[in-house]
């Protein structure tokens, strides 16, 4: 059972019927799904949710689609890990890692795509589409394959091999566009108006974006039905960041948790930091940028939800931070070496920014913090290749091994690493 009621303009509040539309006819503001929260409150309890499936579908009452249309390849209910070694390394008392690298296509995009494809099927669409530098493309390709739907997946020409393979294996209509970033943007917007596709981040964007709220639901449930004091999450369009906060507020609205008091901090790469730059300049109006960063999953120069992300920071006394490419690589390594989790560059950005926020005092040592690690590292091995330890080379006998170890330890002692 779904409790979605209408689409509502985030700017002027005008309401529209539930349909594949995304902007207000009057003010061109973005539309967002409105729910019958009293109905949800009456329908769900902590108990009923805990008895549900170990996936995002345990929160089906809060999702804007009829679960009869779901395409379930196992998305969600990912681990929340107590990260003591990382906490110690960066100077926090209590740190949790929400490890969303364990999703079916190794990123949080499986959450948003799960909701988008269910709603698209409910609307009667037979084809899904997206434009992406990797994670979204992988997830749309996989979900469409599992549903037996057609998929049109548009990618820029200069992608990492792992990200191309991660879509191609599901045999979508994979279209590599010969042009720059702005060209791909323009083409896809035109195509979305011209074809009867469910373009996940265009005409079904209001529904798609809602999938990210499940990250907040899971974290609150995994903490024993409460919120942390601090969240650090990556920002590209800013959607994930704003929806995590919305998710916490909704859990309170439907009576599942106390009023959340959580500070929201967002992380961006320096080479694409329109939101973090606006925060630093004390303004809600960001200036679009031309992205140039190894964190390609965060390379959105003109973020649709940038303004709303800045509002969330203002409302929660939160903050934003940015990390250089070198700091991002160091963040990937630090998370791997302390917690055994291999994240992609978006995760490196989050860890690097967390570290900087703690160092600057923007996050106090005693704030219980959750860092959201939203994508797996095997998709962006290019970012860390050549910057990792080299294997010891030995011949197949004990003496060779022992002398190689001794030589390495000697070199380490001499060089101080």
């Amino acid at each position: 059972m779904s409790f979605e009621q209408a689409l509502r303009c985030r700017e002027c509040g005008r309401e529209y019927p539930l349909a594949p539309i995304f902007s207000c006819e009057y003010c061109f503001g973005p539309l967002e799904v409105a729910y019958d929260y009293d109905g949800i409150r009456a329908a769900v309890t902590r108990d009923s949710i805990e008895r549900g499936p170990t996936s995002i579908w345990r929160y089906e009452a809060l999702l804007p689609c009829d679960p009869a249309y779901k395409v379930d390849i196992g998305t969600g209910f990912t681990p929340l890990i107590k990260a003591d070694r990382l906490a110690k390394a960066i100077g926090l008392d209590t740190l949790w890692i929400k490890n969303d690298t364990t999703n079916p296509t190794w990123s949080f995009k499986d959450r948003v795509v799960s909701v988008a494809i269910a709603r698209a099927r409910q609307f009667g669409f037979t084809a899904m589409a997206c434009a992406s530098t990797g994670n979204l493309a992988n997830s749309v390709s996989a979900h469409a394959a599992a549903a037996g739907m057609e998929a049109y997946v548009f990618i820029p020409q200069d992608l990492e091999e792992g990200k191309v393979v991660g879509s191609a294996v599901y045999s979508p209509n994979l279209v590599m566009v010969d042009g720059n970033y702005d060209d791909v943007n323009r083409l896809c917007t035109e195509l979305a108006y011209a074809h009867p596709w469910a373009f996940v981040n265009i005409n079904v964007r209001p529904f798609y974006a809602e999938g990210s709220r499940t990250l907040a639901y899971e974290v609150a449930e995994q903490l024993g039905w409460r919120t942390p004091q601090r969240v650090v999450a990556p920002m590209a369009s800013g959607s994930l960041f704003t929806k995590i906060y919305k998710g916490f507020q909704e859990l309170h609205k439907v009576g599942l948790i106390d009023e959340p008091i959580v500070h929201m901090s967002g992380a961006q790469p320096e080479g694409c930091s329109p939101i973090a730059t606006a925060f630093a300049n004390h303004t809600l109006n960001f200036v679009p940028q031309k992205p140039n960063t190894i964190a390609r999953s965060l390379a959105i120069g003109n973020p649709a939800d940038g303004y709303y992300a800045l509002k969330v920071m203002e409302e929660t006394e939160g903050s934003a931070e940015m990390a250089s490419d070198d700091e991002i690589v160091a963040g990937v390594k630090l998370l791997a070496e302390t917690e055994g989790i291999f994240a992609e560059t978006a995760g490196g950005t989050t860890i690097a920014c967390l570290q900087k926020l703690v160092a600057s005092g923007a996050i106090r040592r005693d704030e219980e913090t959750v860092a959201f690690i939203t994508g797996g590292g095997l998709k962006t091995i290019e970012a860390v290749q050549g910057k990792l330890i080299e294997p010891l080379r030995v011949t197949p006998n004990m003496a060779s091994f022992e002398s190689a170890v001794a030589a390495r330890d000697g070199a380490l002692a001499a060089g101080g690493r």
């Binding site: 700017e11 995304f22 902007s23 009057y26 003010c27 061109f28 503001g29 973005p30 995009k109 997206c130 434009a131 992406s132 530098t133 990797g134 994670n135 979204l136 548009f154 820029p156 970033y181 791909v184 943007n185 896809c188 917007t189 979305a192 373009f199 981040n201 265009i202 964007r205 590209a236 369009s237 300049n281 004390h282 303004t283 809600l284 109006n285 200036v287 679009p288 390609r296 999953s297 965060l298 390379a299 959105i300 120069g301 003109n302 973020p303 649709a304 939800d305 940038g306 978006a346 994508g375």
Partner: protein, 81 residues
Amino acid sequence: MASKHVRFTFEPDQVKQPVIYQLGHEFQVVTSIRMAAVDNSIGWVVLEIEGEPDEIERSIAWAQAQGVRVDDPTLGDVVEG
């Protein structure tokens, strides 16, 4: 007649220029402002531009040539990670 919705972003040195006035003056289009904000001398406006399709496109190209950034008003960049 057609209409197109756009978002213009003005960098600090452009905020003082009467770009929207000139747009209506030099081209056969009618503009109406739906949303706008300016602070720290950065500004943006969401516009509806009405006119013949070719004339709308010419007017937008002219605005871009003045250094104004032109985007879809709701979507931002659609190429996601």
